[in-house]
């Protein structure tokens, strides 16, 4: 029972301290790898989260499933859903406070740190998956496509899978 609550708290905490959907990744990785899931599992969750419907941050449900089956998926969904809704009472009770400059600065500081943490996490994922020339080529292509923002990310997952089938054996 205690373990179950701890797991729910891991997902809730990661969602509550992240600004943006994928921003929970460095926190979850810190808590779950390698005890509950490997970096290969993180890659799976990111890929499935992108192939499935819904916002970017839903990879967390896939990760939850990998960690603890349907219960884990449910905990992840609860954490990812409840954390952003904190904005509802906040806007009702302290609207002025939310729009104050120091709160804006806080969000900006967290966003900048998250950018750095995500960069490091991305590098770790790349490193764990292999660094052959064709794999690094895929990294560069995906970064370019993501920055450009026009192509659905699922397309790159499929491209990566096909290239892997051709070259990864």
């Amino acid at each position: 029972m205690l373990e179950q609550i701890a797991l729910l708290l891991v997902f809730l905490k990661a969602s509550a301290l992240a600004v943006g959907g994928l921003a929970s990744l460095p926190l979850l990785r810190a808590d779950l790898v390698p005890r509950f899931v490997t970096d290969a599992g993180i890659v799976q969750a990111l890929a499935i989260g992108r192939l499935g419907p819904g916002p970017n941050g839903l990879y967390i449900v896939s990760l939850g499933y990998l960690v603890a089956g349907w219960t884990g998926a449910l905990y992840a969904l609860v954490g990812a859903t409840l954390a952003p809704l904190a904005i509802l009472p906040a806007t009702a009770l302290a609207r002025r406070w939310l729009l104050s400059s120091w709160f804006g600065g806080l969000v900006r500081g967290v966003s900048l740190a998250t950018a750095g943490l995500l960069l490091a996490t991305g590098a770790t994922i790349v490193n764990a998956g292999g660094t052959q020339v064709w794999q690094l080529g895929l990294v560069v292509a995906t970064v370019a496509v993501t920055l450009q923002g026009r192509l659905h990310p699922a397309v790159m997952i499929v491209v990566g899978g096909i290239v892997g089938l051709a070259l990864g054996r």
Partner: protein, 193 residues
């Protein structure tokens, strides 16, 4: 003020938004505006813009905060529950089912080969998103040096493994509140771009 829409119509709208959105950037924003403001007329452009700005300050998935804020505006508590559930629950269910199926083939040689190509893509997506989050720094002129320092420090600390991730985030938040507060938050795309 028109009568609030039925739960069914509201659920349908947010299901569509959740299914078709990706990245949470300006394409998602454009779609929400097209469906809720222009097609349905449930919220005004001003309410929409304000909800977007506030949702960028929320923890976690901004789109959930957006669904909660606009749902409340459209139909109160019912609007919150219907909007958020319609966007999250079907998508989460499909995601979990995909993961369960994938578990059955995860150790097959062909799957492992495909994953050798998917790994770099997943890493590239993460790096690309980090750069997207960092992009507003380019418009900051001489303040950019402070922003870049925070990014580089967080990056280095995590890779060096010398502090807990949560500590980095909390310290950066306090640093931002004290030192970066004289400017506007930059975690969002400009609402009308």
């Amino acid at each position: 003020m028109k009568a609030p829409p039925s739960s069914r119509a509201l659920a349908r709208a947010w299901f569509d938004i959740g299914t078709q959105s990706f990245g949470g950037g300006s394409s998602t924003l454009f779609m929400i505006r097209r469906i809720l403001v222009e097609r349905m007329g449930w919220v005004s452009l001003r309410e929409f813009t304000e909800a977007w700005a506030l949702s960028q300050l929320s923890p976690g998935i901004h789109l959930v905060a957006m669904a909660g804020l606009l749902g409340r505006r459209i139909a109160g508590l019912r609007g919150i529950v219907v909007s958020v559930a319609a966007m999250m629950v079907p998508a989460a269910l499909i995601t979990a089912i995909l993961t369960a199926f994938f578990g059955r083939i995860a150790q097959e040689p062909l799957t492992l080969a495909a994953l050798a190509g998917i790994g770099p893509v997943a890493g590239g997506m993460t790096i690309g998103l980090a750069l997207t989050m960092a992009r507003p720094v380019l418009q900051r002129g001489r303040f950019a040096i402070v922003d870049v320092a925070v990014i580089v420090a967080s990056f280095a600390i995590l890779l060096a493994g010398s502090a807990q991730t949560i500590v980095v985030i909390v310290v950066a938040g306090v640093f931002g509140a004290v030192l970066l507060g004289h400017e506007r938050p930059t975690s969002s795309d400009a609402p009308m771009s």
